[in-house]
Symmetry: C2
Subunit: 209 residues, 2 copies
């Protein structure tokens, strides 16, 4: 990929041109396939990734179950990798591509160095932490206080807004996984919504009305 193309895809928040230049100099462009595992629990991080295209699912594995932490999307970096890299700890989570993706990686030592040189890098890091925190807080509140049917509807409307379409492509099973419940519960609720005329159900997708 051309340097200029990569530059164009780097988050706009990096205002210092010296920083952008350093990124190009030290960074490496990678393509990964769907379901490729980028990082496992227990690994040290040599590289910090920024997603250029695609999506990485970050989760923890506990005993029997999987805890979804967040998705790293275009222009974002992985908060867990970041702090692991910063303190030279091993990763406590997994990162797996949900689709064919392109990422840009640079040596972790730069994370520390750049903090002392570039304000916009600092802002990016703090923004990363803060927005993950807010996101998790939202999930927490919702799990703690909202009944599942409301959470289902919120999930659907938010995705509709984000993807700018009323047709949400997701199976009941995966929706159950996202919300931490079971397939039967989701099917039951969605059927109820359909009878109330709130949605129309298709195999593999849900249409908001």
């Amino acid at each position: 990929m051309e340097e200029s193309e990569i530059l164009a895809k780097l988050p706009l928040v990096f205002t210092e041109s010296a920083l952008r230049q350093e990124m190009l100099t030290h960074g490496k462009f990678l393509k990964v396939n769907k379901d490729d595992t980028l990082i496992r629990e227990g690994q040290y991080l040599d590289f910090l990734p920024i997603v250029i295209k695609g999506e990485i699912r970050v989760f923890q594995q506990k005993e029997d179950r999987e805890i979804l932490l967040y998705y790293v999307r275009e222009g974002q970096t992985c908060m867990m990798s970041l702090s692991a890299a910063y303190f030279n700890h091993t990763s406590s989570s997994y990162g797996v591509a949900t689709k064919p993706s392109e990422i840009f990686v640079f040596p972790t030592r730069l994370v520390n160095e750049w903090q002392l040189k570039y304000s916009s890098w600092n802002a990016y890091l703090i923004q990363t932490f803060r927005s993950r925190y807010d996101e998790l807080l939202g999930s927490f509140e919702s799990v703690a206080f909202d009944p599942i049917d409301k959470r289902v509807l919120s999930y659907l409307t938010e995705r509709a807004k984000k993807e700018n379409t009323a047709q949400i492509a997701i199976s009941h099973q995966n929706l159950a996984y996202e919300l931490g419940t079971t397939r039967v519960v989701i099917s039951r609720i969605l059927k109820g919504f359909e009878q109330q005329g709130k949605v129309k159900l298709f195999r593999g997708s849900i249409q908001l009305k």
Copy 2:
């Protein structure tokens, strides 16, 4: 308070002596009473606090209910204040002292400046974010996956450990508040624990056995 005393109470993580010196030069020492409100939603932050002694409760106010985010304890700073200060946003939460406390505050512009000068300050910030995230993640998992009785027991044993005593001073009502449930549920569960010989109940406190 003597400068040397303050120095002694600052978190040890600030290894650069120049940073410690700057803190003393620019910082201001404050005493607050129990139930004093240090920061309200909507306020801009002029100062970033580090708690020297005591404890600050940080929470959000939503419609009818209150969401407890975390407690800021000795040596810690407030993550929400930090990021609000960093981006010059207003606070989205409240901070109230749970007991008479002593805090050390400095102008928020230093948050940014120090990042470019002191590695240990950066480490402190990232540590602050990461540990709040882990803490919230723990609560999330617990709310999402653990039945309430287990959460009650975890809460009690953790506090017992932290305070190094088997006698936990808390009312059923406040315990319900901490865990996001109701008084009746807590009373019911604790009574069950007592019958199983796990605890002994007193007015206003619970003894682990």
